[in-house]
Symmetry: C2
Subunit: 174 residues, 2 copies
């Protein structure tokens, strides 16, 4: 059978992975974000096979993440640019870069730094709470069923209930 269909899973992470869930796609998006926007340049930079690159670019266009913009006619040649939807995947790339900087390149220092133009500083990305603005810790987050929650997965439902029970107990005893 073909690759497991992730596009019908009721999970935002799975649906995102349906778009960028392989080793090459994020690297292609990284190149385009940096400003490497042409087929041959991406192929040379990544060392990806031309076949796979062609397939991935096509899939990203289908998903509305990239658009192909001609930079010349006779013969037609293209730049690949991110759409708004694609540029927003930059936050996923940023999270990956931050993790790699911290856990792989900690000693040597990172290959790339980021300058935040508005404030001018060389910075890191941090994840914050949209409500209180505090920096998030992964452990401070409790998942709750949302509007399109699908209770068909007993594993997930059971895990959420265990969580809720544990937190209720913690609140009660404190």
């Amino acid at each position: 059978m073909t690759r497991m269909p992730l596009d019908d899973m009721n999970c935002s992470i799975a649906r995102t992975l349906d778009v960028i869930g392989d080793a090459w796609t994020p690297l292609i998006l990284r190149d385009i974000a940096i400003g490497i926007t042409r087929f041959d340049a991406i192929q040379r930079d990544l060392g990806i096979s031309r076949k796979v690159l062609s397939e991935r670019l096509g899939s990203l266009i289908e998903h509305g993440v990239l658009q192909r913009v001609p930079y010349q006619t006779k013969p037609v040649r293209y730049d690949y640019y991110a759409t708004e939807k694609g540029a927003d995947l930059g936050f996923v790339l940023l999270a990956m870069q931050t993790w790699g900087n911290r856990w792989i390149f900690d000693e040597q220092g990172p290959p790339l730094l980021l300058r935040h133009e508005p404030c001018g500083a060389t910075i890191e990305a941090v994840t914050a709470c949209s409500n209180c603005g505090e920096q998030l810790s992964v452990g401070d987050l409790t998942p709750l069923p949302g509007p399109s929650f699908d209770p068909d997965s007993p594993e997930v439902s059971a895990a959420l209930e265990r969580r809720e029970a544990a937190f209720s107990a913690a609140r009660g005893s404190s």
Copy 2:
């Protein structure tokens, strides 16, 4: 030949993808983060083949992202838990979830919500600047060569120079 080696690329994103660069691994980490921590439970929940699940768990343990903790002897049975390194990948998952919520589940509303325990609100994750604290826009970031930058990729070097030139011009004319 085997899968392209990403573990010698001089790029934090590539090195992160060497650990989680496939469709299943992030979903396995998601399950473990939610509290689905046992082999059979993960297998049932995701519908992943037992073979691939076994391989992925092994690889994640090798990478120091997961640890196997016995919850009974006779016979030995295990829970899989994230290490600190693994828990930190939660920010990558969070970024994926945020993207999926916005670009895939916008109309129906998200399958899962997140409660931020310290402030009690149902929140979204936002990415902020470690220096000024402002919410980041992807377009406000300029990549710069860092301590372990490898100038061997002419494509990357050229792209960084183009960027720098464009920004200098913008600053000069404003």
